[in-house]
Structures are given as structure tokens and as C-alpha cells.
């Protein structure tokens, strides 16, 4: 049994920031991550990030991952366990994890869950052919392992992920035949859309994939138009000869551990799926368990970092650590979050949050 004050599950931007914030207040922290690298999604992000200077705007995702990892490794009171998959959280604050083929037990006074999100699939005929990928897999192949996924790609989804992965494919020398988007407008940032558009990639809004073709693997795809009620319009089919169909149709919070731990959960479409009900300090219905980052609502690395900071500070404060300065940092983190979410792109998140944050007080 390993004993620690605070266990952080997940070493993405949210988890790394949470660990550092808590450790700076003097907490003994154990960070567990299931992969062999730290930084979560960031290590696949070769593009420059938005946000403000406090969230390293203008830096590439991978560079941000390195900075966050270095900050965590420089704290003596943070122990890091990689290739450790947390399997369950039990009532007495004990975590079970699989670490390199062995089961280990960790007892923690506070647990911060920062496990991120997982990709959604899309149903269409032949979606099980080799060559149909999630955008995350395409990024991992290209940007982590240096392998091109194919020669010519149809991208499904014009949110930020679809637009950015399209751009990264072009940078890797892979052709992108088109981007299709079911909604009538582009969901991602228009600056990203303009960037791929002026590189010659057409964007078909109000279109979806009808089916994939191929015997052994993807050889082509047919798309068709959607009417105002999102019903396909026969006769509008277009065919593309492609060997990869890349799905970028959204992420859902990885909420399994929180369900299993018995936290009060709520389905909030604005946040991407089922999330834990929590208060403004990211404490769930179980006072031992905090959430931060995409698992608390699919958003951005910039907000994941600030949420991590907030959860790390709140968890440490709840153990009696930190003083007036920590309270000020807490207020600052909250202000940064509201600023990031103040604009029109934050509208959905604001609506979703009103819903989950209300939940805990209503039911408590």
C-alpha cells in the first residue's frame, strides 16, 4: 500500500497542473498515468495554441507538455508513476491500479480525477473497414510515431479537431480530399477553417458520410447533403477516392471511474456527455474526490490547465494546507476560467456548468 495525501489520476494538462498546485502548498502528491509519457493529448498537438500568455498561448502543444512535465518533475513532493492504469476508486479512499503487470494499492486523503475524454464513433455502412480512424489515432500515428496513415483522407467533422488534424495531415504531406460537416456552419475556429481552405481543402457543410467503400480496406467514400431537418437528400451523392476516413466527431468525458466511485453524475450534452456533479471548486458529491479537465466537461487545454490549478489548490486547502496566498490563487484561477469562457465559444460551456454546479447544492 502506498500512502499519499493527494492522488492525481491522469498526467495531461489538467493533472500536471493539479499536482504542481497542490505540491506547492506542501501536499504530498502521487500522480498516476496509464501511458509512458506525460502531457496527455498535448504531446500530439504540433500546432500553436490559443489562450493567453498564462496558458502558454502561441506555444505548440508539445512544447506546453514539456513545460508542464518539467514543472511537475522539479517538485520533490510529487511522485510520478507512469504506465499505471487506475482501475477503481473505493469508499475508504483506496485506489487500485495496474502497474506493469502488477496490481498496486494507493491510499489517498484526496483524489483528483483528470483522465480526459475519449473519441466518439459514427455509424455508417462499412465503418469497420481498415482505414477508418478516429482523429486521435491519426494524430498518434503521425505526430508520435512518424507514420502517415495513408495517402488521401476524407475528414468527417469541421470542429477544431477536424480542422487541426486536417492541417497536420497537410503538413505531413498527406492529401485531404475534403472535410464534411453535418451542421450548416463550421464548428471550429474560423481562423483554422480559413487556414485549411486556403491550402485548397474544400469544406462541405450540411453534408455527412453516406458510406465507405472497399473490399479489404477503405478505397473510397460517398458523402451526401443534409436538408434543414438533417435528413439526407437523395441524388446529392459525391464520391471521393480515399484510403483513409478520419472521424473527428467529438469527444466524451471518460467518466467510468467517477461512476464506479459512486459520484453523483449528470448527462450534460453541452459538456460532451456524462460528468460528475460538483461545486465551483471542482469537488464532487464525494468530498474526497475532485475533477479537472476534459473529464469534467470537454473543453480546451487552456481551461483544463486552469481547472487543474483550481482542483489542486482546493484539494490542498481542504486538507488544511496553504494560507491567504492560496486563497488568492484560487480566486485568480476562477477569474481566469471565467475570462476564457466569457465569449461566444464559451456559451455552451457556461450553460452546461450552470447545470452541473447547481446540481450539487440542490441535491446536497
Amino acid at each position: 500500500m502506498i500512502n499519499t495525501q493527494i492522488a492525481v489520476i491522469g498526467g495531461g494538462p489538467a493533472g500536471l497542473r493539479a499536482a504542481v498546485a497542490a505540491a506547492q502548498l506542501g501536499a504530498q502528491v502521487l500522480l498516476l498515468d496509464e501511458s509512458d509519457h506525460l502531457g496527455g493529448q498535448l504531446i500530439k498537438q504540433t500546432h500553436k495554441f490559443f489562450g493567453s500568455q498564462q496558458q502558454f498561448a502561441g506555444s505548440r502543444g508539445i512544447a506546453i507538455a514539456k513545460k508542464l512535465e518539467a514543472a511537475a518533475r522539479s517538485q520533490e513532493n510529487i511522485a510520478i508513476l507512469q504506465e499505471a492504469t487506475v482501475l477503481g476508486i473505493y469508499e475508504d479512499g483506496v485506489l487500485l491500479a495496474e502497474h506493469k503487470g502488477r496490481v498496486i494499492k494507493v491510499r489517498a486523503q484526496r483524489i483528483i480525477v483528470a483522465v480526459g475524454a475519449c473519441e466518439r464513433m459514427l455509424a455508417f455502412p462499412n465503418n469497420d473497414l481498415p482505414g477508418v480512424y478516429g482523429a486521435g489515432a491519426v494524430q498518434t500515428l503521425m505526430n508520435v510515431h512518424g507514420v502517415r496513415p495513408g495517402r488521401r483522407v476524407l475528414m468527417v467533422g469541421a470542429g477544431n479537431i477536424g480542422l487541426i488534424v486536417t492541417y497536420q495531415l497537410l503538413q505531413a504531406g498527406v492529401e485531404v480530399a475534403a472535410i464534411v460537416e453535418a451542421a450548416p456552419t463550421i464548428g471550429g475556429y474560423l481562423v483554422h477553417a480559413a487556414k485549411v481552405r486556403r491550402a485548397g481543402v474544400p469544406i462541405y457543410t450540411s453534408h455527412t458520410i453516406k458510406e465507405a467503400h472497399g473490399e479489404e480496406a477503405v478505397e473510397g467514400a460517398t458523402i451526401w447533403q443534409l436538408d434543414a431537418n438533417r435528413q439526407p437528400v437523395a441524388g446529392t451523392e459525391r464520391h471521393f477516392a480515399v484510403d483513409v476516413i478520419c472521424l473527428a466527431v467529438g469527444l466524451s468525458p471518460l467518466s467510468d471511474l467517477l461512476w464506479q466511485a459512486g459520484c453523483q453524475m449528470k448527462y450534460v450534452p453541452e459538456l460532451g456527455g456524462t460528468v460528475a456533479v460538483r461545486d465551483a471548486h471542482l469537488c464532487t458529491s464525494n468530498p474526497r474526490i475532485y475533477v479537472a479537465g476534459d473529464v469534467a466537461g470537454v473543453e480546451e487545454a487552456s481551461s483544463a490547465m486552469v481547472e487543474g490549478q483550481l482542483a489542486g489548490l482546493s484539494a490542498a486547502l481542504s486538507l488544511g494546507l496553504g494560507g491567504k496566498e492560496a486563497q488568492e490563487q484560487l480566486a485568480e484561477a476562477k477569474a481566469q476560467l471565467s475570462a476564457l469562457r466569457a465569449g461566444p465559444v464559451g456559451e455552451k460551456i457556461r450553460a452546461g456548468l450552470a447545470w452541473v454546479e447547481k446540481g450539487v447544492t440542490a441535491d446536497a
Binding site: 490559443f50 498561448a57 495531415l169 492529401e175 485531404v176 481562423v191 480559413a194 481552405r197 485548397g200 464559451g346
Partner: protein
């Protein structure tokens, strides 16, 4: 419409293009950022205070063209690659564009490349004058491209020969 095609319209552009008078005075930044998003590196990068500090991080950039000297620092720092510098005083027949560029291979000075418009369509040829790629730009190179004057507000990208088939 920009929101359904990714291509800014003439009306969108009218909002962000400097006056003819200002263009005639020398290089100036054109910020093609049309949406309120949580982002502000352009404002923090500008050393001339030409891009006003944002009150709200979601503000759209506001530029004072009289303060701007066309240095292109903001071009390299904009994560959206949405800023371009146009210099109409370059020569009698040509304008000089400073374009952000992140594909390999980078073009070489003297090279003639295909000039692309905002839809990625070839609209003519451009001559590469200079390529800036210092470490501080974090691998967003700035390509100085001479194009016929009449294409100065059309050309926003290039296709480099020998580039893999990523762009068509």
C-alpha cells in the same frame, strides 16, 4: 459565407482592410480574424502598441494602422495564421506580402512559387524574396513574396514546387 465555407467574403474583408491612403504609405498588417475567440497573442506580440490590449480575451483584435510598421512579429505569433503584412510601396509593379508558412520544404529566396488565393486556387506566380525562420518564431516561417500589385489582396498562400501532394 465564411461560417459555411471558411472563405472570408468581400464584406468581411472590407472590415479589416486598411485605407488606400494608408496602404500607399508602406507595409501594414491585415488581421483576418473575424470571430470572437479566447486568444490574444497578436496583441501581446506587437511592440508598437498598434494592436490594442484586449479588455476581454475574447475581443477581436483592433489595430491602429498608423502605429503599425509592418514588422510582422504578430504574423509569426498568431496561432491562427490569420495575419498578413502587405507592402504596396515595394515597387511600381509589385507588392510585397509577408505570409505565415508552416509546410516543408520552405521555399528559397529567388524561387518562383504558385500564388494561391483564400480558396486555395492558383491565381498567379510570386517571387520569394526572403524567408525568416528564427527560433523565436517557433517554426512559423514568414515568407516575403513579391506578387503583381493587383494580386496583393488576393494572394494569401503559396504552393512550393517539390512540396509533397498535401496542397493541390
Amino acid at each position: 459565407m465564411l461560417k459555411s465555407t471558411g472563405i472570408p467574403t468581400v464584406a468581411d474583408l472590407a472590415e479589416v482592410l486598411p485605407t488606400e491612403e494608408r496602404l500607399a504609405k508602406g507595409p501594414v498588417a491585415i488581421i483576418e480574424c473575424f470571430q470572437r475567440i479566447p486568444c490574444n497573442p497578436c496583441a501581446t506580440a506587437c511592440r508598437q502598441d498598434a494592436i490594442r490590449p484586449f479588455a476581454d480575451i475574447n475581443d477581436r483584435p483592433q489595430i491602429d494602422w498608423d502605429q503599425c510598421n509592418g514588422c510582422a512579429l504578430c504574423v509569426a505569433n498568431c496561432p491562427g495564421l490569420a495575419i498578413f503584412v502587405v507592402d504596396m510601396t515595394y515597387s511600381e509593379t509589385e507588392a510585397l506580402l509577408k505570409l505565415p508558412y508552416e509546410l516543408l520544404p520552405l521555399p528559397q529566396p529567388g524561387e518562383v512559387v504558385t500564388a494561391l488565393n483564400r480558396a486555395g486556387e492558383p491565381v498567379g506566380k510570386g517571387r520569394v524574396i526572403r524567408v525568416q525562420n528564427p527560433p523565436t518564431f517557433e517554426r512559423t516561417a514568414i515568407v516575403h513574396l513579391a506578387v503583381p500589385r493587383e494580386l496583393a489582396q488576393e494572394v494569401r498562400n503559396i504552393m512550393v514546387e517539390g512540396e509533397t501532394d498535401g496542397t493541390r
